[in-house]
Structures are given as C-alpha cells and as structure tokens.
Amino acid sequence: MPLFDSEFLNKLEYLSLISKRVFRGQLLAQRRTTQLGTGVEFSEHRDYSPGDDLRYLDWNVLARHNEVLLKRFQEEQDLHVYLFLDCSRSMSFGDPSKFDFARQIIAALAYVALADLDRISICAFAGEIVETYPLTRGKDCVLSMLRFLEQLQPTGDRTHLKRSLDSFLHRQERAGLAIVVSDLLDPDGFREGVDRLRFHRYDPYLIHLYDTQEANPQVLGDVELVDRETGLAKKITVNERLLKQYQQAFAQFLESSREYAARHGMGYVQSSTEIPFDQLILRMMRHSGTLA
C-alpha cells in the first residue's frame, strides 16, 4: 500500500483549506519578517540621515511641521520552513512505524506551507544529514516533495541531532521555522541540537513521536533486548517492578521534553502513532491558534 495515496492527498488538501479558512494560516504563522525594507505596508517614521533615499521622504510631514522624516515600510519576505525528519532505525519501530507516521506529518506540513506560498526544505537526518530536499516554493513541487519522502528509509545510524543540525547550520541558510519530527531518542540528548537552532535565530518546533509499545512494553521474563539503532543485544530479566520503572523513566522523558519546550517557548507536540496524522496536524493548528 503506497504511503501517499489519493486519500492521503485529499487529506492534505483538506488540511490546507482548514489552515487558511479556519486558522488563517496560523499553523506556520504566515508571519511577516521584522525586517524593514521596500514593502508596501507602512511601518514607522525615522529621522532623515544624509544619504537616505529621498524617495522615502515624507513630504507631507515636512510641509506641515517642517520636520524631515523618512517613511519606513515592512518588507514582505517568504517564510522559510525547514522540516527535519528523523531517519534513524529507531523510527522503524511500531505498527504503523514512527517513520511512516513522521513522513505523513512532514508531507502534510510541507503541503500546507507550499499552499501558503512559503518555502520549504526537508532534511532527513540520523547521525548526520542523510539527504536534503532543497528549498522549494510553490504548490507544483508537491509531487516531487512526496516522491522525495517516499524514497527515504529509516536506515540511518544512531540518532545524533546536534551533529546533524550543526552540519545544517553550517550551510548558513536563512533563518526560519525549523520543525523537527523525531522520537528524540538521542543517546547524547536532543536538547543541545535544538539549542543550536535557537541560538541561530531559528524558530524550533518539536514533534515528538512515540509508539505505545514503547511507552508500555509488553515484555516480561528473561529476554534479550535488541537495540534497533545499534543492533546491540542486552540480556535482561524483566520483572514487573523493572517494567514499572521503565515506564516511569519513559514517562519522565516525555515530561522533561515537554518542560524543555515550554521553558524555551518553542512549539512542541507529543503524540503516539496511534492517532491519525491529520488529527495531529489539526491539534497543532488549534494549539498555534490558541497561542496566537
């Protein structure tokens, strides 16, 4: 069964319409840049300095009050949306797998952004950037974007978000919205990588995915646990107490991730792969609408 079938595309169109009509594009903020320039929307006055372009001199003010002021306009710029997809092997866990779920989310967000005339770029990462879909604008790129997503596989090395994002930042792309879709199972911690985005004036948004079997594993007794990412096996005897401790540790991990995002005022959505991806997108829209 193809990942992006016609029904999926219908859902994307629906989400796009919802984004525009109900939430007025608040998902991706459809925000203006703070940069002042040669736009058409008046922003403010400032004192004239020699060398300023006389075309922007406010002659009316000069005539009435004899003050030399320069009109400034808000420059309209496209929003750059960077979508980071975790392609590590841990994303292949679950049914449906976290990776498929993540690709659907990425596709939906990219579709909405392209429909909103924003620029998008998709970066598949694991231990480092695996593959990149370059900055693109326009709805006519949807199909190529979907093809790009379809050919991705969760076969990367163990997750290393900091290294991946470092290599992304070295490209010196224009700052924008950086949406990371991952299970955040980074042995070195995901926070440092996300902090790098913040420091470089990106606007990070974390979509934290997990599987219910991951949160509440049904395993007891003498087992050999095999790490999907590293392939390492660990012999362990799981009893109910240990299982409970694991559940507490995982719940604590989810909670600490949420607290981290809230503390730094970044967008954060946490979801299991049980719910349909479009519901998650709608939840994100509502969340953004509430914040707005």
Binding site: P187, D211, F250
Partner: protein
C-alpha cells in the same frame, strides 16, 4: 528405612522433562526495542547481585528437582525402624454415664471427654493403635486399630447415657485389651475419682466442678390394695448441695396435671413423699420439677399406673342376693345376669356360674360357685364331711386380705378335678374348698360352697374374695409396676402369643426389632423414660396387641451427686511429639515449603 510403596519412586523419572525444560529455557527470547537507553538506565539502578543473577536459574532447577524428590519419597511412604519400635497401644476409657451429662462445664462433661479424646488422638503417632471403651454399660466400642478416621468417627458417635457408670469394670476391660501389647496404656476420661495404684499404666483425666444438684432419686406408684380406684406415688427427692432449694414437684398422669407439691430441701437432705390419688385410669405418671441445676435427667422421673378397666361379668345364677350385691359393690364392674350360658362370649368377659347344671364349662374366665353336676373338668363326689377351712394359701393374690380359716361351709360339695389344679383352701380332710386352675386357654375358679347355708357371704372376706377373683381374672395381680433404674436388665415373660416379632421402642423414639421366645431380656436400660415393647402382629392373626411398658429412671444417688474435682491437665507422656504424623506428611510439608520458595523466586523474577 523401608518404603511401604516403593513404586512411588518411579515418579523420579519426571526429573528428565524438568531438565529438558530447563535447558530449553536457557535460550532467551529476542525482543526488538527502539532503544535500550531507558532499559539500561533502570537496569543500572536496580542491578541484581551478579552471583545471584548467575545462580538463580540453577537454584530454581535444583529446587524443582528437590521438590520432585520429596514428593516421590512421600509417595513411596518411607518408614523408619524406630517408628515401629515406639508404636503404642492406648485404650481410651470414656465415661458415658449419666453424670457426664452435667452441664456445669462448657456444654457438658461428656462433650469435654469427647473433645479431649479427639485432641489426644491428634497427638498420637501414626503407628499407634487405639481402642475405645465406654463405662455406662462397659463395652468395647472400638477394638484396637490405627485407622484414625474410624477412631475419630467412633468417638464422635458416642452418646452419653442415663445409666450409672461402671468405671472399674471398664478399666479392667481396657487393661485386658492393652495387656499384651507393647507400650500399652489406658487413659480414663471421667468425672469420677479413680483410685490408682502406683506405677499403674492407667492415667486419668477428670472433669467437673462442685456444682449442686437436686434429683428425684426414686419414683414408684401402685394401686391401693384396699381401694383399687386409688393409687399411691412414692417419691424420693435428694438435694446434693450445701444450700437449701425450693422446688415445685409436678405430678401428672397421662398428660393431665394431677398435683403440684411445693418442697423445700435443706442442704444434703433426702426427702421421701407418699402421695395418694384416686383415679381409675392409668398410664404414664410423670414427676418433674423445674430447676437450673447441673444435671437435668434426674429432674424428671416416670412410673406406670395400672389402669382399672371396666369389666363385664355375666352372672348365670338362679338368684343370689349376696353375690349380686357383692358384684355391684366392686367398682368398674358391669354385671349382666342371665338364665343360661351364652353361646359366645368375648374373651375378656368373666362368666360366673352359680349353682347351674352346666356340664360343659366354656373356655375363658369362669368362676363356678356351688356346682351341682359333673362337668368336663371335674366330677362331683358327694359333700365334704367336715367343711371347715383349716388351711389356705397365703401368697396367692386370690387370697390377699382373705382369711377363711375356721370358717364352716355347710353343704360344700366335694369336687375332684380331672387335671391338676391349685387348692386355695381345704377342709380338715384335705378336700378342696376353693380351687384355681389356669392354663393357656382357661382361667377357672371353683368355690363348691352353698352360699345360702354358709357364713361366707356374711363375712368381710367374701367381697374381698370376689374382688380378688375379678382382679385375678383381669390379670391385675401385679398392681404395682415398679420402675426400673437405668443400667438394669429386665427379664419379661411375654404373653403367650404366636408372634415372635416385637418392637422395642426407646424413650427417644428409636426402635429396634426383636425376635423373642417366651422370655425377653431387655437392657441394660440406658435411657430415662418410658420403654415400650410392641408386638408386631400379622393381619391374619387377629391377636390382641398387648403393649408392655417399662418405666426407667436414674435412681442412682452416686450419679445424681455430680460434685467432683477436676484434674489440672492431661497426663504426660501421651503426646507423640514430632513423630505423631507419618514421614510422608513431613515430606509433603517440605515440598509445600519448597514450592513456596520457588513461588517466591518466580515472583522475584516476574514481579520484582
């Protein structure tokens, strides 16, 4: 050590599949997880000690093999030689006499005795043998056996009787039972004081308190000799306590209250009462009183009052004023005067032939006065030469209170009986002047005296003689049916009937069929109340059912005096110690304990 069931060791073969499962279980199940990051985190926090981690599976295997070994040994039922050497033989003598029903201790003394016996049974070893002996009617309730269930059931089914205890005989019986056995001993559970010799193999556990008791220690009733409609009741009341007691003695006859007699008994008093009543009817006489004392069975006693039934008498006579007046004066007599002998008479009817020329004397109850012709039973032989009574039978009920000596019967006829008969009065020449003959089908009295010419009708002896004759015909010679004390044996002479089947009905209503001859031995009577013997008649036999009643009371001061002193504790040496149970039971217990340990280890592995 030997094994009673060595084939049980075959179960050890189960060790092979256990080992197989253990080896299979060494291969761990592989489970793929996204990351072992969190597993390592929690595992490091709760890392088990390495030696235990390595050994616990092996320990579990060894434990399972040990459990299997224990169970297989248990099934093989091992027996040590010392167990056989220490086997004991115990005779339990349980007092089930009347005093054991005393309720001065919890529930009753008998319940205590049974409970103690069962407790003792729990402490005996498997190889011990036990016998149960009771004392009321000393008998072996259960021979020596080691089957606990049977012993327990026997003890539980024991019942307390109302009979007096015969403790010494029971102990002798018990000692004989264990006499030849190894490690034999006797344990007596009683409320009586048992004198014991030193180094005796008899141990005694005594129960009871110094509780007081008031008892009816005797009850008898009888018809008055001079007034057959009246009867007397003899009651003996005893107060077995230091305190005076007031009671209301209720006397009832046939369910109807006759009298209530208030009695105050001072401490240790024994009071005898004679109470007179006037009732023709008879039945069950009950004397009882309400009092909260230690023993209830002696607060009630029963006796039997003989009823005076209405009697039909057919008088065939040419006319005798004396005779008619005498018959009319006897209570509950219905006289029918006729001129001839009726062809058919009921068997209970008394026929009096006075100066009649009947030559064929009918069967049944017949009194012939002044016969004039020969008959099928006698021949007339003129008149008596010297018709003065010189000799009379004293101990016959027919002659009770009758004195005919020196009385002259002029014109008395000499009668010679064809068959032997009893001469009640005879003349100087030895001629019979009053004859009695009783066979299975005939009761005959012959008085060959001319009432018109003799002084007999003018004497007080005449109505008494006729009344005695009527009573003799009625079979009421024994007007006193004495009560029987519990524990006694009564020999009964049964009516001569064709049937041999009798039903014995106990006071509690339970019945038992008896096949008897002419005599029946009933007893020992171990229950207070009214015992009954009822003939089981066939439909075609048409016989008259005659029920025999026996009133039975606890007329025993020793049993009613329930005061005693209990011993402190059970005798030492009866508890069997740890060897009271067979070895297989301990093996099973060990296996259960091992299972609990294995369960704990399992829980440690799976629950933590």
């Amino acid at each position: 050590m030997q094994f009673a069931a060595p084939h049980g060791l075959y179960w050890l073969l189960l060790a092979l599949p256990i080992m197989g499962f253990f080896l299979l279980r060494q291969r761990r199940r592989r489970v793929a997880v996204p990351s072992v990051m969190f597993w390592e985190q929690v595992y490091e926090e709760d890392r088990p000690r390495w030696w235990w981690r390595r050994l616990r599976h092996l320990a579990s295997l060894l434990l399972q093999l040990l459990l299997l070994l224990l169970l297989a040994l248990a099934l093989a039922n091992p027996v040590f030689s010392w167990q056989a050497d220490q086997a004991r033989t115990v005779a339990l003598v349980i007092d089930n006499s009347a005093s054991m029903a005393a309720t001065d201790i919890a529930t009753s003394r008998f319940v205590w005795a049974k409970r103690e016996a069962l407790n003792l049974l729990d402490t005996l070893r498997e190889s011990d043998q036990v016998s149960v002996v009771t004392t009321a009617v000393p008998q072996v309730e259960l021979g020596l056996t080691g089957h606990r269930k049977t012993i327990r059931q026997t003890i539980q089914e024991l019942r307390c009787t109302d009979a007096p205890g015969q403790l010494e005989q029971a102990i002798v019986m018990a000692r004989r039972l264990v006499g030849g056995a190894q490690n034999g001993s006797v344990l007596v559970l009683t409320d009586q004081v048992v004198p014991l010799e030193e180094d005796s193999d008899v141990s005694v556990m005594t129960c009871g308190t110094n509780a007081g008791n008031v008892a009816i220690t005797q009850l008898q009733s009888r018809r008055n000799l001079d007034d057959r409609l009246g009867f007397q009741v003899f009651v003996e009341l005893s107060n077995f306590s230091d305190e005076s007691r007031q009671i209301q003695l209720e006397i009832s006859l046939g369910g109807n209250l006759l009298d209530v007699v208030p009695v105050e008994l001072v401490g240790e008093e024994q009071r005898r009462l004679i109470l007179d009543y006037n009732r023709p009817e008879g039945g069950e006489l009950i004397a009882t009183f309400e009092l909260e004392d230690a023993l209830a069975s002696d607060n009630r006693a029963v006796a039997i009052v003989t009823p005076v039934p209405p009697q039909q008498v057919v008088l065939v006579s040419p006319g005798s004023l004396f005779l008619e007046n005498v018959l009319a004066a006897i209570p509950r007599i219905e006289v029918v005067r006729r001129g001839d002998v009726p062809p058919q008479l009921p068997a209970s009817t008394i026929l009096i032939l006075h100066r009649t020329d009947v030559s064929e004397i009918p069967q049944g109850r017949v009194m012939v006065i002044d016969p004039v012709v020969d008959s099928n039973l006698w021949e007339m032989d003129g008149v008596v030469a010297d018709p003065i009574v010189v000799k009379q039978v004293e101990n016959s009920p027919l002659m009770t209170h009758v004195n005919l000596r020196d009385l002259t019967f002029p014109g008395a006829r000499r009668v010679r009986m064809n068959d032997p008969s009893e001469t009640l009065a005879e003349s100087l020449d030895g001629d019979p002047l009053y004859l009695a003959k009783q066979t299975s089908d005939r009761s005959l009295l012959v008085l060959p005296v001319d009432l018109e010419r003799s002084d007999l009708p003018l004497r007080t002896a005449f109505p008494i003689l006729v009344a005695n004759a009527i009573a003799w015909f009625q079979g009421l010679q024994g007007e006193m049916k004495s009560t029987v004390a519990t524990g006694e044996i009564r020999t009964l002479r049964l009516p001569q009937t064709a049937n041999r089947q009798w039903q014995l009905v106990r006071p509690d209503g339970t019945t038992r069929m008896l096949t008897v001859g002419e005599e029946l031995v009933v007893g020992p009577l171990d229950q207070c109340g009214l015992w009954m013997l009822e003939p089981q008649l066939g439909e075609s036999e048409g016989e008259v059912a005659t029920r025999i009643q026996i009133a039975c009371n606890l007329a025993d001061s020793n049993e009613s005096d329930v005061r005693t002193v209990a011993t402190e504790a059970s005798p030492a040496g009866f508890a069997g110690g740890w060897g009271t149970r067979p070895l297989w039971l301990y093996l099973v217990l060990l296996a259960v304990f091992g299972s609990a340990v294995e369960w704990y280890l399992y829980q440690r592995r799976w629950v933590g």
